[in-house]
Symmetry: C2
Subunit: 252 residues, 2 copies
């Protein structure tokens, strides 16, 4: 990554989606690629620090060396169908969704055979990567083509810890990691403002965890709690355990 | 604190209980007082670093300038009855329990009128104060006498953040702070080993919080979940919210 071998021109990156995570992608990759953005919800693509990116329509954005799909998981299939005819031979297409089986299935189904495809899940967000992505984690899953190694090397050069896995293994673990975090955050937020004075260290950690995810948009929650095929199982285990514990307390 | 005005001899401190928290008290206060320990469960009172303390019976231990009750909340009434006849005029008696109304009630009822009494709740434990108590928090509640100011000054000199409150206000807030932390820890521990590789920052914080309290002894859980008069209310609110959220998910 970085430059093409033939021409030494910077690689182009077409970014679909300029929401919270799309902005984070642009912020972290602006120095490495020539980025164009496609997001009908925005008139201009400008970061908080003033850096601006060219906006193009879907067709032009899709004609990049690397295409990053930072759109809601529920939109992946549609976007893939829309961009498929314009993907270059040998291009790399990656998503960044919090769930991997369904989105990677859509990419495999709708994108051309000549596209390299990787599923990725950056295990961080605008809150946890506020001061940078160094030492944060990213999961990558190969779907098609031979770009896994160069991508891994590039991601490591950004300071990321790269976890190579499969869509199924990813979703099973994420159901617990993200499913439980969001469930607990939802219960605690519903209980009203949490104490912040007379607190223990462990409670401060809980509160910090909850604070990190409570502003996640509904699309992220949808991916974690609905699109992940293992989410319901974990959720039910959580609620079942909670009920058993309630019964234990009531028996005291 | 530190030295008596009249003789300049170091103040004596009688420590009841050499469990996990008693050891922490001894470790932090050994340089400030001449400590004797009473705990029938131990033959010798030796810290991990080799420092040893004289062990005495309850009667002798109670005849100190300062008496610290680091015994389970459920034992406070009994210990107070046992030591009451031996408490010196002007001595300061403090407890360190995770709940304040009941223990302070017992101290007020059973200890002599000439004793100064403070309820304290150090908002840390062996895990969260592993590397020291600087910047940790402690709640103190006045029950009887005039030792609140000197105690506050001394605790601050140890680097602690001192929160002055009442038994009722303390218990109401602790029901949420500790009650919720322990409930969530119990549910998560029951779900089995938590992922530790493909994790988000927020999940790592959750796991750290759970890890800090999961080895708390049953006596601490009893104080937090049973002896705290507001614990049941908070617990029910938690379970009720969890059920509502479950219903919301099932309706999707």
């Amino acid at each position: 990554m970085g430059h093409t071998i033939e021409t030494n021109r910077p690689l182009t990156l077409g970014l679909f989606g300029f929401g919270a995570f799309g902005k984070l992608v642009a912020r972290e990759l602006a120095d490495h690629f020539e980025i164009t953005v496609c997001d009908p919800a925005y008139v201009g693509a400008v970061l908080e620090d003033g850096r601006a990116f060219a906006m193009r329509d879907a067709e032009e954005t899709a004609r990049a060396d690397i295409v990053v799909l930072a759109v809601p998981v529920a939109r992946i299939a549609h976007v893939c169908q829309q961009i498929a005819p314009h993907i270059r031979v040998g291009a790399l297409v990656v998503d960044v969704g919090s769930v991997k089986t369904a989105p990677m299935g859509h990419m495999a189904k709708h994108l051309p055979r000549h596209a390299n495809i990787l599923g990725t899940h950056p295990l961080f967000g605008p809150q946890s990567a506020k001061s940078g992505i160094a030492d944060r984690k990213i999961a990558i899953c190969r779907e098609r083509g031979n770009r896994q190694r160069v991508t891994r090397r590039f991601l490591r050069s950004l300071g990321l810890e790269v976890i190579e896995t499969t869509a199924e293994a990813h979703d099973r673990e994420a159901a617990m990691v993200q499913g439980l975090t969001h469930l607990i955050a939802k219960v605690l937020n519903d209980l009203g403002p949490l104490p912040d004075q007379m607190t223990t260290v462990s409670f401060d950690l809980l509160r910090e965890a909850v604070g990190m995810v409570k502003n996640d948009p509904p699309t992220v929650l949808h991916a974690i709690e609905v699109a992940n095929p293992y989410a319901a199982e974990i959720r039910n285990a959580f609620f079942d355990r909670a009920e058993k514990i309630r019964a234990q307390f009531e028996a005291v």
